[in-house]
Subunit: 427 residues, 2 copies
């Protein structure tokens, strides 16, 4: 007992004989990921730990070095059998991934190198609903060009760009079918950016909370937790779910739309036009409406979001009764919905992002009290609730990470530099 | 574009060199599954379709025949290249899987042979809450013994037994931690059955809705739909979810507890002691309370469930206003919760089982009306809602199927028959 009932998982499907080039690409990626996930080590240790033979590892490392994805350095004396070898390091300063986020009142970009180091980061306050889709995409194109230029200055070429949008995304053609709070309907983000950028790297479009969940899984404080629910609170509320180490996408990439589940106040109209969506009681508007009168600067969308949230936090620290009551109410409503997610997904951890993370210390007590009451499994079904450490950059980090994954899937995407400007290619 | 962002999925983990015996077992299972899923065919065709070489397939088929899992029959002329060969058929009359279900007011058993044919089926009306755990397990042991004897009469030995329980199950040690409607708390079902049965086949314990979802995935009308939500309505309401072709289990096997999400009437107390659980408005008690006065025979738990449901259906067919109003209300409440599941999981299909299937034709209109209003994705996010064709046997079928999967994972579990009673083994 103890293991999951086996489902077929395609194992009975036709197995195509793997061709040599595919095996080579897979093994190149295997070595590259191994170095990223476990740190620098000798060829001998890589061979021992991956099960590849030593000659193969040497050949793979040589090719990765040709592609400037690894370098070799000092002698590795750890865990080696026989003569110690030189340590192989992940290098990859020559390649980067770009993540962009489009949210209701801002656009952001972040560039990661292959080691996950931030090369560039920028954030613009933008009123997307007022700007409209075309002018927003113009602004995004400028933002991406800035990022590409900044990366180029460090010698890095983009492996890809992933655009996070707070809405329903049809990933197959990069169309945002519905982004209620932005006011978008069937906006062709992928085509619009291709036309503006004219770039040769692949562009993907994905739901923001899904990308944030991937970022948490890849580089957050709870990284590699196989069953993980991420909740982001901004103007809207989104969810991203990792199930057994994989992003839950659903049949059409429309999963995780927790903000529009009927867990809110049936008398309140949501940005999507429905009544009673959960967003109506836990979105940032709900908090600000309860915490401040109209005209209060914390409610002014033209002001920087983090500054406004700091002001709310400062009032709560000062013991302002209205602010504390509003936070208590949001925390309890957050608990009602989080309990549904825990009952359904049985995650090891629920990660609160966006404004939930910034104000989390005031939300946690009422939230946990609701979970105690509403989760069926004993001890809140073993779920912990934590605040994201990635702040508002989770979605752009996830986007950049996804763009880089293509390199780990196939390192031959990164060309071998050549003395002739054209004609560089794999040997 | 178009494919899921790649998560690591353990590909960077240490790869142990597969030993010969493991490869052999895997390939035996591959051939066996191929025959089950695609029907009888020649060795040449199996080789062509699986990518295994012909000599290997011949050797694998010979071993499967030795273990009486396949037989060879007439000449296969379809799709073959060169000389047509004899057709290999899945046989497997010598082995079976047993599924048992424990629900609030009944216990059931079902035996499947390797081809998925039902060898034996039995159902007892049992008042589990009144009976208590020990006497229930006594009754289950008798039920299983009957099933084993009936299977033995056809020459089939059990490969395993899976017990479906309407409650939270800790699968690692087969303890039902909480079954609110049965009134169980920390009942050691696995140990209790081992002690009573003294059998040599493995026993598993699993949530009933999870096993029903597996049955739908394996043999229902929507079989092999990779993203599928199963909802069962009985005294309680349970959910089982297939995500990308795999059962969603969550971190501790406690996923899918949709019946106890806060989507019900906050004034109604649930069997679990909480208020406002979804079960309070869509469970069978909610329907019967609305449809019939106390004392009405349709509400008598001592009567056969299907007979009572037939009576409700007959009243609805006759246009009984109270019955129709009750069904309309349940259908609408079912829609509220189904909308949450569709917003979260984005399934291709939602399958209604248990009493929802029996009375589904009266529930569907109000249900769909709620989905239209409450699902964010256009066109109900592409989800269809269908009635299960497996009836109340879904959980026992899923249980028997899971028990049989061990044979497909490792056909060498089925011994080669020997002239000497002991000492039979693989060559």
């Amino acid at each position: 007992m103890g293991e999951a009932p086996s489902l077929y998982d395609g194992s009975s499907e036709r197995r195509a004989p793997a061709d040599q080039a595919t095996v080579r690409r897979t093994n190149l990626g295997l070595v590259l990921r191994h170095l990223r996930d476990h740190g620098p080590r000798s060829r001998a240790r890589i061979a021992q730990e991956t099960g590849l033979n030593k000659a193969t590892v040497s050949s793979l490392v040589a090719e990765l070095a040709d592609r400037r994805l690894v370098t070799t350095g000092e002698v590795d004396r750890a865990g080696s059998v026989g003569r110690p070898g030189l340590t192989v390091h992940l290098d990859g300063g020559c390649v980067c991934g770009i993540g962009v986020e489009l949210n209701v009142d801002y656009a952001a970009v972040l560039v990661l190198d292959l080691r996950g180091e931030v090369l560039f980061e920028k954030r613009l306050a933008l009123d997307l609903p007022a700007l409209g889709a075309e002018r927003t995409l113009d602004a995004v194109a400028v933002l991406v060009s800035d990022a590409v230029a900044a990366a180029a200055a460090t010698g890095a070429r983009p492996a890809g760009l992933t655009v996070a949008v707070a809405g329903l995304v049809r990933s197959v053609d990069g169309v945002v079918t519905l982004a209620p709070n932005i006011g978008w309907h069937d906006v062709a983000v992928l085509d619009g950016l291709h036309a503006r950028l004219g770039t040769d790297f692949p562009i993907r479009v994905e739901n923001d909370a899904n990308l944030s969940a991937i970022a948490e899984w890849a580089m957050g404080s709870e990284a590699r937790t196989p069953d993980l629910v991420y909740l982001t609170g901004e103007v809207g509320v989104g969810g991203g779910v990792i199930v057994a180490g994989r992003l839950l996408r659903g049949a059409g990439g429309l999963s995780g739309e927790v903000g529009h589940t009927s867990l809110g106040d049936p008398d309140l109209v949501c940005g999507c036009g429905r009544r009673g969506c959960w967003e109506t009681v836990v979105g940032m508007a709900a908090l600000l409406r309860a915490a401040a009168d109209p005209g209060d600067p914390v409610g002014d969308p033209a002001r920087d979001l983090e500054a406004r949230l700091s002001e709310v936090a400062a009032r709560a620290e000062d013991g302002d009764a209205r602010t504390l009551a509003a936070l208590h109410q949001v925390g309890a409503s957050l608990g009602t919905g989080a309990a549904v997610l825990i009952n359904l997904f049985n995650p090891r951890v629920v990660i609160l992002g966006g404004y939930f993370a910034v104000l989390g210390r005031f939300l946690m007590d009422p939230l946990m009290a609701e979970l105690e009451v509403r989760v069926l499994g004993p001890g809140v079904a073993g779920a912990r609730v934590v605040l994201s450490t990635l702040g508002f950059s989770a979605a752009v980090r996830g986007g950049a990470h996804v763009a880089l994954e293509s390199v780990f899937d196939d390192p031959t995407l990164v060309p071998v530099p050549s003395l002739e400007p054209a004609g560089a290619g794999a040997p």
